[in-house]
Amino acid sequence: MKKQLLFLTFFTLICQFFVLAQTVSISGKVTGQNKDPLAGVNVQIADGNLGAITDGNGNYLIKALPNATLVFSYVGYLDKSVKLTGTKVLDVNLTVDPKSLQDVVVTALGIKKESKRLGYATATVNGDAMSTNRTANPMSTLQGKLAGVNISTMGTGPAGSTKIRIRGQSSFNSVNQPLIVINGVPMDNTTYGIGGGIGARSGQVNSTDGGDGFSSINPDDIESITVLKGATASALYGSRAKDGVVMVTTKKGSSKGIGVEYNANYTTDEALDYTDFQYEYGQGERGVRPTTAYPQSAVWSFGEKFQPGMTQVLFAGSIWPYEPVRNRYKQFYRTGTNLTNTVTLSNGNENGSFRLSMSNSDNQGILSNNQFNKKTINLGFNQNINKALTIQGNVNYSNEFNKNPPQVNTQDMAIPTVLYTLSNSMPFAAMEQNQLMPNGNEFVMSRFLVRNNPYYSLNQRFENVKRDRIVGNVSFRYQINSWLYAQGRLAQDYYSRYNDYNIPNGYAPIPAAPTGFINGSYTQDVRNFRERNYDFLIGATKKIRDFGVDMTVGGNQMYRKTEYNSVSVTDFVQPGLYTIMNGRAKDPLYGKTERSVNSIYGAADFSYRTFLFLNVTARNDWFSTLAPSARSILYPSVTGSFVFSEKVKLPSWINYGKFRAAYAEVGDDNVAPYSNALYFGVNNNLFPNPSGASVPVGGINTTLVPNPDLRPLRVAESEVGLELKMFKSRVGLDISYYYKITNDQILAAQISDASGFTNKLINIGQSMNQGLEMQLSLSPIRSKNFKWDINLNASYNTSKVLKLGSSPSDTVIVVGGGGGRTIKEVVGLPIGALYTYLYKRDAAGNQVFDKASGKPLRNDVPAYVGNVLPKYFGGITNTFTIYGVEVGTLIDFRLGAKMIAGSNMNALRHGLSKLTLPGRAEGYVIGKGVNPDGSVNTTKADLQPFYETPNVLGVNEDFVFNSGFWKLRQVSIGYDFTKYLSKIKFIKGIKANFVANNVLILKKWTDNMDPENISNISDNETGLDFWTALPPTRSVGFNLNIKF
């Protein structure tokens, strides 16, 4: 630090040489809070290049024209301009920037508080960071930027959803996503689709990511995002905030008159290929290449060794060179583009203001039929009706159209799955030329009929997802007198979501239609979602000498309704016409759920002078989903903070210091409505009895054992934290430790099929999460033309399953999985234990092979191979400002977790993996090891079945990888052109940025894939992958912002 100061002083001195002759010398002392001298203050002549820096006693010396204006700037203080009036000595006292030392933080219910009053950790990202370097779903942009917050993006296309985990995973089951709050009001963030999600209709070939709720937001409208991490922070939101709260504050109009702003953002996406497959043996099975017409080996690379001049026969008999086809992703995926234009109009005066923004965003996915368009209109206003009454409101309308989201996490028409497993010698031209048979049916290229020609999938399958959404609220605030106010608020989140998709006519894996019809299917579904929140708040502030009290009481009534109308038809009268009326067999569905939570809450905030704060809150929720005896729950919280820098004499290099501690309890009903009883379904169609009469068929329609006696789960969390600002606020440190116990979790535990059901809802289990979070900001260099800021956040989280079940013998619960890949909760292990079968080994560790077939054998029971949730994650943001050019980089990391990369299993069983090379020349494999009788294995196993065996047996031992990574996530280079525009009056500012996202993987441990690139979106099943996701993309582009 000292060295740097020296350097800076030296730097300043050099500058002095260039001072012109007719100037005068000005000197003085700069002081800050409590009249303390400030060292390192930038003293600059307005409109000039010259500057000086104060020394250790706050003194400066500068040469300037007698009528110049000096600008004093210092971190944490407001800039101050002083026009020289002939004086030679100018002492200046700077005012603390309230935003800096006493940040105002938006806390629960939208209540703003000085950050020093908070007894818990929060993290904030401002809107610029989200709009400059953006992603189609704004949530993904936050990746790596917030301590304690782990965000995963799915490989599912531009409208894909995100998975957010704050301080680990609080429960084994159900949803662990935080609550999204916009301007104080909750917003639905339901994730649709993929792998049995809400969007899937059983029996239909639809496995796309239907997106989540957050994508309705335009990043240009975001003023800031504050994450309330702990239970204490979110205690006032009650049940829905057990996993923290992501609070979005949208931009408001300013009171400075008319303002117009235009923002353009353009990026291109390029698919990244991390596969490292073998290109020595080509298409075919059991060592034979395709030599006759209609081969069905398109996803097998167990063929012959490539030799120059070899040919292969494909499709109806055309002859193609038998040679490696490399760079498959590059050949098939196009460059995606994203263009967003936003225009904002704002106006205001002392009585009120408004801000209106309109935006259009066009995303062309890397699959050539995939587009995502989003239009948003956001209106925010506030108006002072009179001195006491203020009305505020915000409405966000969005119209989203996701055209042909990619099929993922499955086989049927899932292009990523086919491209990943496609034979390494399959020419793309051959596939493009042979999509349909002469009769219009699908041209089959694989005996796995569901591994479809990717061009066929691209051109024959369609899906549309459209959503219209209005989220808004109006609040009335009445200042009854100087210390008392009352506020009422009405809010609604409403959307209608339309989704339709087909199975094409002539699709090979489905049965032929009865005579007179053509096969295929079409599904159309419409959902309506409505959430209403009414709330009121009465607040009082009183100050008696050194003591201050803020009291708030309030209540909230939440009502949520979802409705679902869907019809699916099979077989058509008229080919190519996908409508419900054209269908033969019709299968309608209707669903409706309602739930309500009523709440009353109160908070009391006590302060002593400016350094001691105590906050107590209580909230009571009543859940409609639970039995009367269990539906009421009270959550208390108590937090305290002590700004010791204002009380204790500290070394001069500590500018600010705060210690905080908190304890809170929150709970959650966490069950779907109607989980209390067993329900029945009546089949849509009647069935003929022997006399031909149609009779009804119906039965228990669930595989989940209901439970009428569920209790809400409870999370008890304690945290302590320390905040420091040091070295003239050049170093900022915020450390938290938390300890979180979750009790009475509601689990859908997997049970024996012989019970008649697959899962049972039970109220059991106790788990613990604890961790450390650190946020460190550094400003190592802060000179006039070169600034360097570092922002580092790092989190450490460990968890442990403490209890399961109702008796001590219950120690395991199965969360999910398949194909030998299972996630379990096991007492004594961290949350999310991965299990898979291992190869059988004898006592000496030799692998055991079947004597007759020579194939590997497996152990009887699956083994524990690691945990899926990362122990460490975080990010490092570096910002350099060099002569006005701002360069920012974000490196993020996630470490200390395991995954089962099942997609590698597909590469293995299809002969693409390099692991399948041994034995190719001979055509057989002799497994190195022993037979069950102990003798050395000498059996020659057929090559292809040998490498197919791990998949057949569910032995994923070879594909348990460290899922950690280090990534260069973002780079942006920006320049503010505003200073060149002083003559152009109507433009107030121009800023341009070059941006790049997902730039580079610095380190990974997974073979053939990006460890983040998983298509399984299930809330609990992280770390499991089998069918490949859409490849990750690197995006590069620019952002342009003009203010008028």
């Binding site: 039965g699 012989a754 197919e948 047996l953």
Partner: protein
């Protein structure tokens, strides 16, 4: 002042919106769409329809194991289709019967039994559901051996998540008792329902089904406990067996409720499954007219795409079963021997007749019952002319062909010719009867396999596939699903300790070597 009033009235309005903290909650948490109870007759109907496998994937156990073990239908392809064709363990194909039967048949039946057992107006439905439960559990225990029985399907009613496994001996003895009691208790003078999917409320037919199933269950014990078998055969005969094909227990598939095996074979696995040579040869060598109803061949087809008209023929003389013991590459070695163009050239199940997508599926038939009865006569467990009964069984199955499709119908004279030519030969009766049972139970995979294990007939030769993983000549049972090792480990261990290793080799109780 005006504005203050306005605001205050707004606040009051807001106050009204909070209608008390729990008011309306109980109503809110009632599902307005799905009922909380249903006429048990409709639930019984579901238990019956779902007993023919719930979706096309569930049929993979039949296609890949049951049909292949008894050498009627076979696939040369491996990987996800491997199983009985290579005599290897493929956990995804050994589990579907377990999951579908427990989840969609047993669960519903346990509910029906619970709702009807104490209801004097529903005694017939109660006894029907006991019969159907016996049917479902025979399939489960014949496939896996010891299985959860007494505690099964009670995940909701009694909260049993980890049901204990019962020994097969106990299960069978209870099934015999249940069938005997329930069949006897059926009473045509009591309430019946025309909504009954199986017999439209015809109690006399239900009774015949009950006793015919009792005969089947009794005969199952012929190796392990002949005395018990004989005693229950007598009870079954005395109670009254099926008298004609009109008594058959059938699921009548429609275009809306399709035959799942057919759906799977006409769609995903269209070019992958073939009639096995031993089966085709048996029919062919005996000039069996059923071959023309069951089989077709796409002569000269070189690929799946060429399996279409005009190559298609049902001519029995050109039918050619796929030889056992080959995979999709080694099968090439058979082409010259049999004069086929490719593996796609072998005979397949005719998807226009016996396995069209709305083809009926049979649970228990008059034909099967007559054949079992003939065996019981041969064994001296009941009286009657075994040869006549045997021929009646064959005749009934041949007549049954017409129910699949008119194209499959067999003319009376052809039937007569066949039965005249095939009479019981002293000393070979058991082989003859059970070989006919093998044909008469075609497509009913579980029954065909069970009767093959019980009787040892037809005298099939071990599948010679070189990569076999089994110890004996045939697969003896299906291993328990992997999910049981995860969710019900203690009970599973006890079952394995009783029955033997959880593999394809251990014999189930009634299958004495």
């Amino acid at each position: 002042m005006k504005r203050i009033k306005l605001f205050l009235s707004g606040l009051i309005l807001l106050g009204f919106m909070f209608q008390g903290c729990e008011k309306g909650f109980d109503d809110l948490n009632i599902n307005k769409v799905d009922p909380i109870s249903l006429d048990p007759q409709f639930v019984m109907n579901k238990a019956i329809t779902d007993a023919t496998y719930r979706d096309n994937f569930a049929t993979l156990e039949l296609l890949c194991y049951d049909f292949g073990i008894v050498q009627q239908i076979i696939t040369p392809f491996g990987s996800s289709l491997s199983g009985g064709n290579y005599n290897i363990f493929n956990p995804s194909n050994t589990t579907p019967i377990w999951t579908t039967f427990y989840q969609s048949v047993v669960k519903q039946l346990v509910y029906v039994i619970d709702k009807t057992k104490a209801d004097a107006t529903k005694t017939n439905l109660y006894n029907e559901s006991r019969i159907w439960k016996a049917y479902a559990f025979m399939i489960l225990t014949d496939t896996y051996g010891d299985v959860p029985y007494t505690e099964a399907g009670k995940g909701f009613l009694e909260g049993i998540s980890k049901p204990k496994y019962d020994k097969q001996e106990l299960i069978y003895k209870d099934i015999l008792k249940e069938l005997d009691e329930a069949s006897a208790a059926l009473d045509a003078t009591k309430n019946t329902s025309t909504s009954d999917i199986l017999y439209g409320g015809n109690i006399s037919k239900w009774k015949k089904l009950g006793y015919s199933l009792l005969l089947r269950a009794a005969m199952r014990l012929s190796k392990v406990d002949p005395a018990t078998a004989a005693s229950y055969v007598k009870k079954a005969v005395a109670g009254g067996l099926m008298q004609s094909n009109a008594d058959n227990s059938i699921i009548r598939h429609t275009s809306l409720y399709q035959n799942w095996i057919a759906v799977h074979l006409t769609a995903r696995e269209k070019a992958n499954f073939y009639l096995a040579k031993p089966f085709v040869d048996f029919l062919k060598n005996n000039n069996d007219p059923r071959l023309g109803s069951i089989a077709y061949r796409h002569v000269g087809a070189k690929s799946g795409a060429e399996q279409a008209a005009p190559r298609t023929t049902t001519d029995p003389t050109v039918q050619l079963g796929m030889p056992m013991g080959y995979d999709d590459v080694s099968i090439k070695n058979t082409f010259a021997t049999y004069g086929v163009a490719s593996l796609y050239d072998y005979s397949q199940v005719n998807l226009n007749t016996i396995l069209k997508t709305d083809a009926p599926e049979y649970h228990v038939t008059y034909a099967q019952t007559q054949l079992l009865l003939a065996e019981a006569m041969v064994r001296g467990w009941t009286t009657g002319d075994a040869d006549v009964t045997y021929k009646a069984g064959i005749t009934a199955h041949m007549q049954q062909m017409a129910e699949y499709d008119s194209k499959a119908a067999i003319a009376a004279d052809k039937i007569l010719t066949y039965v005249t030519a095939n009479k019981l030969i002293a000393g070979k009766e058991l082989e003859q009867i059970n070989s006919q049972y093998w044909v008469a139970s075609f497509i009913n995979g579980s029954e065909t396999w069970a009767n093959f294990r019980r009787s040892g007939f037809p005298a099939l030769i071990k599948n010679p596939y070189p990569g076999s993983e089994i110890k004996g000549n045939f697969i003896n049972r299906m291993p328990y699903p992997d999910s049981e090792t995860i969710t019900n480990q203690e009970n599973l261990k006890a079952a394995v300790a009783n029955q033997g290793a959880n593999d394809l080799n251990s014999r189930i109780w009634w299958d004495k070597p």
